[in-house]
């Protein structure tokens, strides 16, 4: 099984800004690559280079063995793209948009019309299909744009933040659609801000920052880099801390961390549930009042934050208005402390 997307040493600069700084990517045929990275990392730039929309300053890239720089026309026949911003015509209806795309892929009149209706149905847009896109909500445009990417059933699909702006229901629908496509043999390169999404859909993940890949691997491999499961206990009285520490040390496989300020004790474990039960029995025997207890697994958020420590800070200013940044969860904060 060969790599259907191969990029090596891609560079692109805009004035002083280095958008891509020697990016290497490979995507085996029939798999899903999730491209993660903070705002401005170069995800969109990478997608635009691979989909022939942008000439890189340096490096090479091929899709299905075809060079994106030398032979963009041929590459365009094979790919489908849904960019970060919906590329649909405002004045056309949803149906007219899809039909137009079909005709531009040089599908026959009838097949193009049938395909347009089919996709409207699949993306829950049948009712709005004959209304101008001007009247669509943000999420509806997004869905239409994704539908447009699928018109010609492309072999290789590029989705730049495909579910940004979708409600939870639509997002789940989208995930189902994507899974269905991948089962059918489509290769997918997707970027996302939702780490859960990458976790669920991607076979491989590449984390990029400042135009470079800084980590790659399967989701569980990346999580393992950050650390395994751990037990966290918050006790009621500060005086109980040493005892709690002892209790956890008995089940821990590594160093136990004590956070006096928050009265929290954290212990890495291997066999999560039974270690947790053992720890709880000990705490109970010692009659220690526990406020909170939990088994935590590292999430991709942890990975993300560990690898790109500055991510959250850098993200904040430019995404305040579009809600793209995932709010920091309790888990991530815990993870950050753990990492320090």
């Amino acid at each position: 099984m060969g790599n259907i997307i191969e990029a090596s040493g891609l560079t692109k600069r805009y004035g002083d800004v280095v958008a891509l700084d020697g990016l290497d990517l490979t995507v085996p045929e029939g798999t899903v690559l999730g491209l993660l990275g903070p705002n401005g990392a170069g995800k969109t730039t990478a997608v635009r280079v691979l989909t022939t929309l942008l000439q890189p300053d340096g490096g090479t890239a091929t899709v299905a063995g075809i060079d994106v720089i030398d032979d963009p026309e041929e590459v365009r026949k094979l790919i489908g793209l849904s960019g970060q911003y919906a590329a649909v015509d405002e004045y056309l209806t949803g149906y007219e948009n899809l039909d137009m795309v079909g005709r531009l892929y040089r599908m026959g009149k009838r097949p193009s019309q049938v395909r347009a209706r089919e996709l409207l149905e699949q993306f829950d847009l049948s009712d709005a299909g004959d209304r101008p896109v001007k009247t669509y909500s943000g999420g509806m445009r997004r869905r239409l744009d994704l539908a447009a990417a699928l018109v010609a059933k492309p072999k290789v699909l590029f989705l730049d933040e495909p579910t940004t702006g979708l409600d939870p229901g639509s997002r789940t629908t989208m995930w189902d659609v994507i899974r269905g496509l991948v089962r059918g043999g489509t290769t997918l390169l997707m970027t996302t801000q939702y780490l859960e999404e990458a976790d669920r859909l991607a076979d491989d993940i590449v984390v990029i920052d400042r135009g470079k890949a800084i980590a790659r691997g399967r989701s569980d491999e990346l999580k393992a880099q950050v650390g395994g499961e751990r037990i966290e206990v918050v006790v009621a009285a500060e005086a109980d801390m040493p005892v709690a520490r002892e209790a956890l040390a008995a089940v821990a496989v590594g160093e136990v961390l004590v956070d006096d300020h928050n009265r929290k004790v954290t212990a890495p474990v291997t066999d999560g549930p039974s270690s947790l039960m053992a720890a709880l029995r000990r705490l109970d025997e010692e009659r220690i009042a526990v406020l909170d207890v939990g088994l935590r697994r590292p999430t991709l958020d942890d990975v993300f934050l560990t690898l790109t420590g500055h991510a959250a800070e850098r993200a904040a200013p430019d995404t305040a208005d579009d809600g793209k940044t995932k709010p920091k969860t309790q888990t991530t904060q815990n993870a950050k402390e753990l990492v320090r």
Binding site: G83, D89, M100, Y105, A148
Partner: protein, 267 residues
């Protein structure tokens, strides 16, 4: 060969998209309908009553000039349309599709023929109302209208190029007027150019807009006997001279605009 068929086929799809927009925003069309009427009335009554050329029915002479100027102004729609398109998300869609690069331009220039067609119809009707008449046969008259449309079409490609050069839609009107005003005023459009100072006269004589106006006058039978005749070859063979310009403009600006489109699109 097949690449030309593809370019035309893709162009037709894009043209259809542009026409749908006119259908959805009919206001655009209303202004296209009204301004030629205004032009004809204004020129016919303001210029028509204050300018006199001995032995000539000036109003009849004027009509071809108004036709000429209006269709050339009409071609600025193409520049605006292209400049606007380039700011729209759908251009990214077009660029990711295996369509011919020139087809966005082919479609735009083709759908803009409609504007000129409509404004010609409006001007003809208004002209007839204010007393203008065609004195030739039907084929000659159709030839006159066709000459206007063909020239306006080639001019659209120049405007498309300008539309792709300017950084935003707001700039396009001023930029295109810089081209259009000298071309349409230093010409035989509204007054015969015989009395202009030498430099301007030579410019006017060889200006394709003069040839177009004169060609149209000829084809409509609106060239009165008493009019002084320029000896310049361009005005002795106005239809041929106009058509040569059409070919030259298309030969230069189709490739130039296509190249500019590719360049502008991959910024």
């Amino acid at each position: 060969m097949s690449s030309i068929t593809h370019a035309l086929g893709d162009g037709a799809v894009v043209a259809k998209r542009n026409l749908i927009k006119i259908k959805r925003v009919p206001e655009i069309l209303i202004w296209t309908l009204l301004s030629p009427i205004m032009f004809v009335l204004m020129f016919a009554y303001v210029f028509g009553s204050s300018i006199e050329i001995p032995g000539v029915d000036y109003r009849e002479f004027l009509m071809a000039g108004i036709f000429t100027q209006t269709v050339i102004f009409g071609s600025t729609f193409t520049g605006v349309g292209m400049a606007e398109d380039m700011t729209k998300g759908v251009i990214d869609r077009f660029r990711s599709l295996p369509m011919t690069r020139s087809s966005v331009l082919i479609g735009r220039t083709a759908s803009d023929i409609l504007y000129n067609l409509i404004s010609i119809v409006m001007m003809t009707l208004t002209g007839l109302v204010v007393g203008w008449r065609i004195h030739t046969s039907v084929p000659e008259a159709l030839g006159g209208f066709l000459l206007l449309l063909v020239f306006a079409y080639s001019f659209s490609w120049i405007m498309a190029y300008i539309g792709l050069l300017v950084p935003s839609v707001e700039v396009i009107n001023n930029a295109s007027f810089m081209v259009i005003f000298p071309l349409t005023f230093i010409a035989d459009t509204f007054v015969p150019s015989q009395n202009l100072p030498t430099v301007l006269r030579v410019f006017a004589e060889w200006n394709p807009v003069s040839a177009l106006a004169r060609g149209v006058r000829q084809l409509f039978g609106n060239l009165p006997e008493g009019l002084p005749v320029s000896q310049a070859w361009s005005l002795q063979h106005p239809v041929l001279y106009t058509l040569i310009w059409v070919v030259v403009i298309l030969a230069i600006f189709i490739p130039l605009s296509t190249r500019q489109y590719k360049r502008a699109a991959s910024r």
